[in-house]
């Protein structure tokens, strides 16, 4: 119970921090905190295998990919500060309305689900996190994934293959960027004008 509130506040706080930062690297750090808190919350929900997957795949792979792209793109110019990053004028009333709607949603779910889960039949024996072959453990998860849910698992493989091919086609084997004479002239003119304007 206490863990839920601590982790929940961390989740919301780091999510807001993530989207309100002007520097993308700080956003990645906030997102890392968010994912770690979420993994801890998975542990409190008896999903130990998914907690580990969350840390390895999200924090280990996806966030590192974000960091690589930031490092790749922000050398030299800063293209990321372009454009308006401000909250639209309807922002504050929209947030207030949203919070009211969320309150109603929580209340409604509470009413609807009251007593619903008391007679649930467990798909596997329930035990403490960390014991073998109980609900949410690696053995339980693997058995379900490779027997009952084998077809979705294979479709996942297909999705990953499509993603790999797509990424290679998009960003893989391309000639390095060499500006044409006109592009180079444009950049030079832009820089000259910026200097004449007073180097803002």
């Amino acid at each position: 119970m206490v863990a839920f509130w601590i982790l929940g506040v961390t989740l919301i706080g780091s999510a807001i921090w993530c989207i309100s930062n002007t520097k993308p690297v700080y956003s990645v750090v906030a997102l890392l905190l968010n994912f770690a808190a979420l993994a801890a919350m998975y542990l409190t929900l008896n999903a130990e295998f998914l907690a580990v997957i969350q840390l390895i795949v999200y924090s280990g792979a996806i966030l590192i990919l974000f960091l690589f792209v930031i490092a790749l793109l922000s050398s030299g110019v800063a293209p990321f500060l372009a454009g308006p990053n401000k909250l639209p004028r309807i922002g504050i009333p929209a947030v207030a309305l949203l919070l009211i709607a969320l309150g109603f949603l929580t209340y409604a779910v509470n009413r609807v689900t009251a007593g619903t889960f008391a007679n649930a039949t467990p798909s596997s024996p329930v035990g403490a996190v960390g014991t073998a072959d109980v609900f949410g453990s690696v053995g339980d998860f693997g058995k379900a994934l490779f027997t009952t849910y084998l077809l979705p698992f294979e479709i996942t493989a297909l999705i990953l293959m499509v993603a790999v091919i797509g990424v290679i086609l998009l960003a893989g084997d391309q000639a390095p960027y060499v500006p044409t004479k006109k592009q180079a002239e444009d950049v030079r003119r832009e820089m000259r004008e910026a200097i004449l304007r007073g180097g803002e």
Binding site: M1, F4, G8, L11, I12, A15, C18, I19, S27, V28, L31, N34, L38, M41, F49, L50, I53, Y58, A61, I62, L65, F66, I70, L72, L73, V77, P79, F80, A82, G83, P84, N85, L87, G91, L98, L102, G103, L105, T106, V109, N110, T113, A118, S123, V126, G136, F141, A144, L145, P152, T156, I159, V162, A163, G166, V167, L170, A171, Q174, Y177
Partner: protein, 105 residues
Amino acid sequence: MINPMAVPIADYVGLSAVVFFIGVAGVIVRRNPLIMLMSIELMFNAANLLFIAFSRAWLHNAGHIFAFLVITVAAAEAAIGLAIVVTVFRTERFVDVDDIALMKG
């Protein structure tokens, strides 16, 4: 003997909805493509939290499997999204997300 959840499911629904809408706000408000992709990850994670919370409530591991599939799709989405970002920013250095209209026709 089924041990009940310490926290009612409605609290998880509320928390997940808040995180999801923070992600929506990030996509709407920010024009930085990287932050927009991160906001999409936030939304994926909010959905995952609900899958796992309901899985725990029913004590059925179908939700775990689905959360696993969502993580896979999120990884594929991040890879493709970042590849698009890299491709676009490789050729045009001063670009706003609103200006990317290559597919507009």
